[in-house]
């Protein structure tokens, strides 16, 4: 769905339509207050080199090994824009249904030791990608205002003193490996109305980033970072004053920080106070926000056009090449996997398998004759540690789905075989089933075992016949035991039900 929407938005040359003003459903209000959330997400692009120099873009290496005159802001060094970074940023913009436009770079001026030039090269009033949207489960559209290119700063570590802050520390060390790494900042419109939607937004954005290969999007390594803007108001009145929360480093923290901040703001307003525009710091351990700075002492960044770079005008052919090369996006992949397997596109199995990128594998299993619904469950449950392209040949997994589907083995036995199959990286499942002595019992043998169980526990049988479903467990358990696990639990239940109805 996203794919077709992005195509139509782009070929017409028109900006994607903004979603209608989003209003929270009554059950989403908090004591009558509506939450309004916008997200600013920074992602590091998975380029070979930095945004403006040839140093490697690599995380986790020895500090200050990927540096050069441009990275360090040495006098006389000039930036040269990385084409791959532009292409990945465009790819992401197109995946977010944005319009790609001619754009410029600005300098954002401020002093800090890990900002080598004392300005960050970023995009200001003419960003690369504008006016897109992202669709959440339940077809909720969240507008994307812009997704622009900028450079990352170095990383400071402060030693001594309190709380890892520069003020009061004994000394600080800076690693410039990260300085100049290309970032895209994705700014949403304030269309998010619940903390759950915010989490879904980050999760969906992450899935898109992975799908298009724009970033590894690892929140724990900082290659994806969220700033959350939160305000509250009564529905039908203007938006409230917003606060920006920084340092929100996991999807779970996004939800917690929003819930905490909404409650804090509502409590202030309802006790007669007013919200001050502030930048807050999320303390995940303490589960609360702290004030970093208020609007009055905000920096004046003195933005102006970066004179060392020329305007970036991606030609139409380039944009179309990038668009044509876009892989199917998560929403579309979830929809087609749901259709194939007969599941809801919001189901966890569908979401998990698509996120792992194993949906193509499920399709392949179905293609070679396997049962798609069972394949989905097997992959969800058994392939968590497997790569997007699992080692188990599709044909082997297809054979396993058929064994279970055709009642040659029980669900329990299938689970055991699945584990063996994954551990071995494939195998002849029929031979494996035989060697384990797995075979579904013929109905005569099974019925005899059921009868024996009823005879052995007349009490339970009486209770079950009287409608006590709990009593069934004891009888099924007895049959499983007497069959040494070879009986199919579902078949036993069905047989018991049939006998009770006689």
């Amino acid at each position: 769905m996203n794919t077709s929407a992005s195509t139509s938005a782009g070929t017409s040359g028109e900006p994607a339509a903004n979603p209608p003003s989003v209003v929270a459903a009554a059950e989403q209000l908090i004591d009558g207050w509506e939450l309004v959330v916008g997200l600013e997400v920074h992602v590091e692009l998975a380029t070979k080199t930095k945004l403006f120099s040839a140093s490697a873009n690599r995380f986790g290496d020895e500090p200050n090994t990927h540096i050069d005159p441009v990275t360090l802001g040495l006098p006389g060094a000039l930036p040269v824009l990385n084409r791959q970074a532009v292409e990945l940023a465009m790819r992401l913009g197109l995946a977010l249904n944005c319009r790609v436009q001619p754009c410029t770079f600005h300098r954002k001026n401020y002093f800090y030791p890990d900002l080598p030039k004392a300005y960050q090269v970023s995009q200001y009033d003419q960003p690369l990608n504008v006016d897109g949207f992202l669709t959440l489960p339940g077809d909720v559209r969240i507008g994307i205002e812009r997704a622009h290119l900028e450079e990352d700063t170095g990383k400071s570590t402060h030693f001594g003193g309190t709380g890892g802050r520069i003020h009061g520390s004994d000394y600080s060390l800076i690693d410039f490996n990260r300085a100049g790494v290309p970032l895209v900042e994705i700014v949403s419109r304030p269309d998010i109305r619940t903390s759950e939607q915010a989490k879904q937004y980050v999760s969906e954005l992450r899935a898109i980033l992975l799908a298009v290969g724009a970033s590894d999007a690892k929140m724990e390594e900082g290659s994806m970072r969220c700033d959350v803007n939160v305000s509250v108001h009564k529905p039908g009145t203007p938006f409230g004053t917003r606060c920006e929360i920084k340092n929100v480093n996991s999807i779970r923290a996004v939800g917690r920080a929003i819930d905490y901040e909404a409650r804090r703001q509502i409590d202030i307003i309802t006790s007669g106070g007013a919200i001050k525009q502030q930048t807050l710091h999320w303390d995940d351990a303490a589960g609360r926000t702290n004030v970093l700075r208020t609007k009055e002492d905000a920096d004046d960044y003195r933005y102006f056009l970066e004179p060392d770079l020329v305007p970036l005008v991606p030609d139409a052919a380039w944009v179309e090449r990038v668009r044509a090369a876009l892989p199917p996006l998560p929403a579309a992949r979830r929809a087609s996997l749901a259709t194939l397997t007969g599941q809801s596109k919001e189901s966890e199995a569908v979401a998990v398998v698509v996120e792992r990128g194993q949906d193509a594998y499920v399709v392949e299993v179905a293609k070679v004759g396997g049962d798609a619904a069972r394949a989905l469950v097997y992959v969800q449950q058994g392939f968590a540690q497997e790569p997007a392209a699992p080692r188990v040949p599709a044909g082997d997994l297809a054979a396993l789905t058929l064994l279970e589907k055709n009642a040659k083995i029980t669900a329990t036995q299938a689970k055991t075989l699945l584990a063996d199959l994954v551990a071995a990286g494939g195998g002849d499942v029929i031979a494996m089933a035989k060697s384990k002595g797995f075979e579904a019992m013929d109905s005569g043998t099974l019925e005899a075992l059921v009868d024996a169980a009823i005879a052995a526990d007349p009490d339970a049988w009486a209770k079950f016949k009287a409608g006590e479903q709990k009593a069934m467990g004891a009888l099924v358990g007895a049959v499983m035991k007497s069959s040494k696990g070879k009986a199919d639990g579902k078949a036993v239940s069905a047989l018991l039900a049939a006998k009770a109805a006689e």
């Binding site: 006389g76 003020h167 933005y303 004179p307």
Partner: protein, 476 residues
């Protein structure tokens, strides 16, 4: 009064490559002149004697061995001390960069070296190229070799003085608002400000990034043409570099000016001294006599150039010079916390003029003032470009004085920044428009001091500009 030999680039390169003169001989002449007069002139922040001798010896050996030695074999060159030279101190005549040795060469430096040039040293300048007299150097002023009671102009005063005093065959400066052309005029030299984007800025310590260009000082127009051919042309390391090869200039010099249209600006800003205006008239006469037509043009926005420049250039400078923060290189004055260290370092490291311009520029870009100052300056910049475009519909090049006066005395303008800024009235509009211009010596004025005539040309109009400059040289 100078007794040093004044050799031309063209002659030296031909003679050294041809084996009739050694690079070592040329260099030793320069070093002898330096020994005799540098103490008095102070053209250099650093003379790289040993490196230069090694390099000259290598070139002489290569000539003997029959190797290709390049188009500038043995040509001695002085570099303004804001161009990065690998392993050689590059200070911008500022205490904040004293001792800093770049790990790389500027593209211009590399191109010159590749053609066999011999670098004599790094020349003095107004700190970070901010000034018109070289009196703003943290290491003391440079004196005009033609009259040591007078300034050599600025900011590339050291580069101009080095050539005028025979310390080098040619030199290079940078021109943000006139910093090559004005000292060239005041020292009796040819000085070129190329079209923006013609010469790579990679390795030039930035002052006003959208205005800065590197260009040559030489004793002849032909020398300047050859030097331009060597340094110009696309550089992938500078994103503002025009993707074109260097222009052919040497072979246009003999073409004359017959049929060319020379613009005379009827509403030129006032304030030039009569001796300078007399030489400008003589230049028009000479070109007319050589077959050119003189046409009247107007440049109504020209007089606003100075004001616009003193917003645009300081704004960019305030950002460009923010990196000198004591964290990674250069001077650091320790203090009790980060902000105090920044303050103490920059207070001790920068001179008054640099501080003045950083404050001007910061103010011009500040929230609430941007539109009234920086924003408006950008509009004026556009107006000037529009006026130039209209004028160039009627003419091929225009002539103005380079400087309103001949070289002035030390201290004449230091107490009045505005008077100093007015030195650049005629040169600044070219930088704002990104066009080409050069100063050509054309006789003398008051006190027998040289007067420079400025030839203005549109973007990439270097060939026409050099034809006119060569004609003026023939007529002077």
């Amino acid at each position: 009064m100078s007794t040093a030999p004044r050799r031309s680039v063209v002659d030296v390169a031909a003679a050294v490559a041809g084996g009739t003169l050694t690079a070592t001989h040329v260099l030793e002449e320069n070093l002898a002149a330096i020994a005799a007069r540098e103490k008095e002139i102070h053209a250099f922040n650093l003379v790289t004697t040993e490196r230069a001798r090694e390099r000259a010896a290598r070139i002489d050996a290569d000539v003997k061995a029959g190797k290709n030695v390049g188009r500038l074999a043995g040509v001695t060159i002085a570099l303004k001390d804001n161009m990065c030279t690998r392993g050689v101190e590059t200070t911008c005549s500022s205490k904040i960069l004293a001792g800093w040795k770049p790990p790389y060469d500027a593209t211009v430096v590399r191109r010159l070296a590749d053609e066999g040039a011999v670098f004599v040293g790094k020349t003095n300048l107004d700190e970070f190229a901010m000034g018109s007299s070289t009196e703003n150097s943290a290491f003391g002023p440079t004196r005009n070799p033609l009259d040591t009671s007078r300034v050599p102009g600025g900011s590339s005063g050291g580069s101009a003085a080095a050539v005028a005093a025979g310390f080098a065959t040619a030199s290079f400066g940078s021109d943000t608002g006139g910093s090559i052309r004005q000292p060239a005029a005041l020292c009796g030299l040819v000085g070129v400000k190329p079209t923006y984007g013609t010469v790579s800025r990679q390795g030039l310590v930035a002052f006003g990034s959208s205005l800065d260009q590197i260009g040559p000082f030489s004793t002849t127009v032909a020398d300047a043409a050859l030097l331009m051919e060597v340094i110009a042309g696309h550089d992938p390391l500078d994103s503002t570099s025009i993707p074109q090869p260097a222009p052919s200039l040497v072979n246009v010099l003999a073409q004359g000016v017959s049929g060319m249209r020379i613009g005379r600006i009827t509403d030129m800003p006032e304030g030039s001294s009569p001796d300078v205006l007399a030489r400008l008239e003589a230049a028009f006469d000479a070109l007319r006599a050589a077959g050119a037509t003189i046409v009247d043009v107007t440049m109504p926005s020209m007089s606003y150039g100075l004001t616009a420049y003193y917003l645009v250039a300081p704004a960019e400078a305030s950002s460009n010079l923010a990196r000198f923060d004591g964290v990674r290189y250069g001077l650091r004055v320790d203090a009790q916390d980060l902000n105090a260290m920044y303050g103490a370092t920059r207070a001790a490291g920068f001179g008054d003029e640099v501080k003045r311009r950083i404050m001007l520029g910061t103010y011009a870009l500040s929230a609430g003032y941007y539109d009234a100052y920086y924003g408006k300056a950008l509009k004026v910049r556009r107006l000037i470009a529009d006026d130039f475009a209209k004028a160039y519909e009627k003419c091929d090049v225009m002539l103005t004085p380079t400087s309103p006066t001949v070289a002035f005395k030390f201290g004449d303008k230091t107490s009045n920044p505005l008077a100093m800024y007015l030195c650049d009235t005629f040169t600044i509009p070219t930088n704002l428009a990104g066009h080409a211009a050069m100063s050509v010596p054309f006789g003398t004025g008051e006190a027998g001091l040289p007067v420079g005539v400025q030839v203005l040309a549109p973007a990439l109009g270097e060939a026409a500009m050099f034809r006119v400059a060569a004609e003026l040289e023939r007529a002077s």
